[in-house]
Every structure is written in C-alpha cells, then in structure tokens.
C-alpha cells in the first residue's frame, strides 16, 4: 500500500443545497463529454462506417446510379447523414446496457436526484455525438465536392432536424438498453430492425426502379420521409409538409417511449 487509508483526514462538510433537475441533467451531460475525452475511439467507430459508405457509393456505384460520382454525392450525402444518426443511436443503447450491467445506475438511483436525469444526460451525449459525426461527414462531403444549395441556414435547419431524429430514435435504444442485459444483444436486435429501414429507403437510390410492393413500403418508411425532408432542407425547396412528415416518427417515439423508459427504470 503506497499511502494508507486514513479517514481521520477526511474533513466534515456541510450538506449543500439540493441541486435542480436541470443541474442534475447537465452533470450527466458533462459525463458524456468526459467520455469523448477518454474514449475517443468511440467517435472513430461512429464515423468510419458512414465515411466508407460515402466513398464506396460515390466512387464505385455513383457513376452507374446517377451518371457521375459528383451528381450522386449531391443526392446521397443528406441520406448518409440520416443513416449516421440512426446507426449512432444503437451505440448509445449499448452504452446504457453496459452501465446498467455494472451497477453504476444503482448508485445513481440511490442518490436524491431527479429520476430521469441520467437519461437526459445520455440524450445530451447522443446529441453531441450526432453533431460531431454529422459535421465530420459533411466536411468530407464538402471536400469531395458536395454543395448544399440552401446554404448555411439550410444546413443549420437540416442539423436541427437531425437532432430531432436522433432524439426520437434514441428512445428505442434506451428502452432496449433497459430491457436487455447484454450490450451485444442490444446491437444485434438494434441492427436487425434498423437495417431494413435504412436500406429499404430512398437513402441510396431513387425508389422509382423498385418493384411496386417494395416501393409501397419505401414511400411510407419513416427513414425515407426523414431523408426527403433533409434533402429538401439542404438542397433548397423543402416544404413544411415534408418536414412535418419527417417529424411524425420522432414525435411518436418520444411520446410513447419516454414514459415507457421512466416506468421501466423505476420498476427495476
């Protein structure tokens, strides 16, 4: 033992005033930021797949799909942003499942704090992750020649929509994280649902060439609705209706799953 324990050296402190719910949530947000510092490789995981997708689809398939790689990139980039945010949500579900398995949440739950603040903190972390990942992808897109016709404010609006999407989809994985003990299972189940939604959408190609039965699905797929709105916001010409359709799924998910999360968490 290098230096021995001596509780005698521990000064007594007065109990501070009870912190507000917002303050609790921000502390958990700070925890998420610390994670970026200590586990920067998680960011690498988050952006590598979308970067590879961008390069692969643009340069290998792009010419065949849209006439030229440059033209395809213009079509594809908003879609890959949606894909990035949706995939990233899976990782936060895994993180939650890991935390719960280690008993860390037991400590949080035994504290006199706002019950939902750990989740609010997770959401803060998720939103930061989405923003960082989306910024990296957009930067690479700009380097490769992508140009958002709607300009700076179009991109800003698009990022706001991405955050709403990430917030909504995030609840799915928080609920999965609460229900499932092993992080790997959260990932497997997550991707089982996410893959068909992402690939049977209008992210990669225009659904015009798809068979009717598939197109019927693709047209109502929430991922397609999100992608359409994001394309509109970044490329100009987005309608209020498109944005409203894109927000249906995030709003519905939040309305249903936020109370579910609270219920699952408190009855554990």
């Amino acid at each position: 033992m290098s230096d021995a324990t001596s509780l005698g050296r521990l000064p007594k402190v007065a109990r501070p005033a009870s912190p507000s719910a917002l303050s609790n949530a921000l502390v958990f947000g700070w925890r998420a930021v610390l994670k970026f510092k200590h586990v920067p490789e998680q960011l690498f995981d988050l952006v590598m797949t979308p970067i590879m997708f961008t390069l692969l689809f643009t340069f290998v398939f792009g010419g065949a799909l849209a006439g030229s790689p440059a033209e395809y990139l213009q079509f594809f980039l908003p879609g890959i942003l949606v894909q990035t945010v949706v995939f990233n949500a899976v990782y936060s579900g895994m993180g939650l499942s890991t935390d719960l398995g280690k008993g860390l949440f037991d400590r949080f739950r035994s504290l006199p704090i706002w019950s939902l603040s750990p989740f609010a903190g997770l959401m803060v972390g998720d939103i930061l992750r989405h923003l960082i990942a989306a910024s990296i992808i957009l930067t690479i897109g700009l380097i490769l020649g992508y140009r958002p016709e709607a300009g700076f404010f179009g991109v800003l609006a698009a990022f706001a929509l991405l955050i709403a999407i990430g917030f909504g989809v995030g609840w799915i994985f928080i609920v999965l994280g609460l229900l499932i003990r092993t992080p790997m299972t959260v990932m497997t189940i997550g991707f089982t649902f996410i893959f068909p939604l992402v690939f049977a959408s209008n992210i990669m190609v225009d659904p015009a060439t798809m068979p009717d039965w598939l197109r019927a699905f693709v047209d109502v797929n929430p991922v397609s609705l999100m992608t359409t709105a994001l394309r509109g916001l970044m490329g100009g010409g987005a309608t209020l209706g498109q944005v409203a359709l894109a927000l249906i799924a995030p709003v519905a998910l939040t309305a249903i799953l936020a109370p579910t999360t609270l219920w699952l968490y408190l009855r554990r």
């Binding site: 521990l10 000064p11 925890r31 610390l34 994670k35 280690k102 008993g103 704090i113």
Partner: protein, 336 residues
C-alpha cells in the same frame, strides 16, 4: 415535558427513529420468494451484518432498504423515512456501495468523485475540493488522474466506498464489501468500516464471510432462503448453538471417515468437516462425553494430531443453523 415526547412530535420521531426498522419485507421474483418476510431493527451507529450464503436474499433485502427495489409486502423505515412513501428522503439520508463496483470505468478516480459531488449539489471548486479530500483520505491521491479501469480490485473498492461518503450518510449500505479482495485489501476495508462506524455512521453490510461478520458487526442476522433464521451478537449466536464443541485433527487423513463415524455415533450430533486438512468439529455437550469419544478414537488406533474443547466458531454456528457449511473462503479466514 410530555409535549416533547417523540410520539407527539413527528419531526422528533424522525430524529430519534432507529436507523432501520423493517417489518415483514417480502420480494418475489416469479415463483421465487427471494425475501420471505423479514423483520429488522438496526439502532443508530451500529455495524449490523446480514450473513448468509449466495442466493439467501441478502442483496435483495438491502436493495429494498436502499429504495432500489420496491417490496411486494411489508414496510420499512430508514432514518425515520418510509422506503415506499418517501424514497427521496431515504436517498438523501443513505449511501450504497453495491456488490459490483458502481463506478464509471472510463473516467478517472477524481472525475468519478467530482461527478457524484456535483450530483449531491456541490458546485465547481467545492466539488473538486471534496473529491480531493476523499482521494487523500482513501490513499488514492496518486491514482487520481488514472482511469478506473486501470485500478486494482482493492483500489476500486476504496474508491467505491469513498464515492459513498461525498455526504456523510446516516446509513451506509455495503453489499459484500470484501468479496473478491485479497487478505490485505480486505483488512484495509475492515479498518475503513470500523473508522466510519466510529464517526457515527450506521452500517448495514451483507457478507458470506463468517469471519467478517464476527470481526466487524455488533449484531448479526443470519439469513437463508429469504428468511431470518437467527439474530444476535456473535457471542449470543455461538452460545445458542451450544458451548461444548470438540475439535479434533486426525493424523492420517485416510481414516477421516472412520473417525467421523465414531464421533457421530458417540456424541449423537452431526460432524462438520473442515474443507482443508483432516479436521472435524462436533457438539459434545459435557466434557465426559467428549472424553469417551476421544478414548474410542484412540482405542481404534486413530492418531490425533490435535484436539481441543471450546466455543463453536461462527462456521459451526452457521452449519448448525442452516445445515450447510459457510463458504470456503471463510474457513481460511477463520484460521488467521
């Protein structure tokens, strides 16, 4: 004078209420009654141990008292607050160190403590200063900037307990505080627990180590299959089991079975075998009966390397109460 009696003054009642008072607590998981009607009274300032084998319901009981799990029946107060009606007040008065280190492994030791200090309401510099005080008191100053995943088991445990002392709690719950620690680290944690109790903290700890309960706790509740099967001081539990215990060590381990048979027949009590070495323990009652049993062993040509009469160890108490030996580790401890 009667106006100040606790019964008429609810605030005074909360101040003098026992640290823990539980009546008929029940928790079921499907078909299993993990905790099956337990009463518990822990006065303030005491180290109280809940002793039992794996799966006895110790952790479930503790989780209910710490408001992590709702009881299916029964009621309890902690520091005068009802665990179901007023969980927030209970949480403000307790701290819990779970069985598995409840720390963020990716963060440094200091960041873990600052995080918790902020959650308790310390701001900026005050949070950092509290974290540094705790690190110093627990001998972790040098490791403050290292990530917890690089800590040894003993360091983790110390940080985990430090994390429960951001605010000096009324009741500290420790779920198997020394499980998985080497003997040095275990002694270290014991010293810490005694130090906390000296400063007035009530401590409820669960353990499967009989030695640990014996060493630390003023009172012990023995729990098996979700029920409390005995409670008292270590001395009382031993006295209740009977005082005249005969311990013998057999020179030739090959004849252990034979010797056990003789003792069991002679003394009419089950014989407990030590997990290592050729040792047998059995309740003998009167010294005369023990003498006769020893004489028969010698007459059968079984050489004894050692024998003694004395108080039962907590091992033997546990065996007598539950019909199963304590955990293997506790046998080693009992030898120290």
């Amino acid at each position: 004078m009667n106006d100040f009696s606790p019964a008429r003054n609810p605030i005074a009642l909360a101040e003098i209420a026992p640290a823990i008072s539980a009546r008929g607590l029940v928790k079921t998981f499907g078909e299993v009654r993990a905790v099956d009607g337990i009463d518990l009274d822990v006065p303030r300032g005491m180290i109280f141990a809940i002793l039992g084998p794996n799966g006895a319901g110790k952790t479930t009981l503790m989780r209910m008292l710490a408001t992590l799990s709702r009881p299916d029946a029964g009621s309890a107060t902690v520091m005068g607050h009802d665990i179901v009606q007023a969980p927030h007040e209970v949480r403000a008065a307790i701290a819990m160190t779970g069985q598995f280190a409840s720390l963020d492994e990716d963060l440094t030791g200091r960041e873990n403590l600052v995080l918790l200090a902020r959650l308790w309401g310390f701001r900026g510099r005050a949070a950092k200063s509290r974290a540094n005080d705790l690190l110093a008191a627990f001998g972790l100053s040098e490791a403050a900037t290292r990530q917890v995943k690089d800590y040894s088991g003993g360091m983790r445990r110390r940080l985990d307990i430090a994390a429960s002392l951001i605010i000096t709690p009324g009741v500290l719950f420790l779920d198997e505080p020394t499980t998985g620690l080497d003997p040095n680290a275990r002694k270290d944690v014991w010293g810490m627990i005694r130090g906390l109790a000296d400063s007035g903290v009530t401590i409820l700890l669960t353990t499967q180590y009989l030695e640990e309960a014996d060493q630390l706790a003023a009172r012990i509740a023995v729990i098996d299959h979700g029920r409390k099967i005995a409670e008292g001081t270590s001395r009382e539990l031993k006295a209740a089991t009977g005082s005249g215990f005969l311990h013998v060590a057999i020179a030739d381990p090959a004849r252990l079975d034979e010797a056990a048979g003789i003792l069991e027949r002679r003394l009419q009590h089950p014989v407990q075998r030590s997990t290592e070495g050729a040792q047998l323990s059995v309740m003998a009652g009167a010294a005369k009966a023990a003498n006769e049993a020893l004489a028969e062993l010698v007459a059968s040509g079984i050489d004894l390397s050692d024998f003694s009469m004395g108080q039962p160890s907590l091992d033997e108490v546990f065996f007598a109460l539950t019909g199963q030996p304590g955990s293997a580790d506790s046998h080693e401890d009992a030898r120290i």
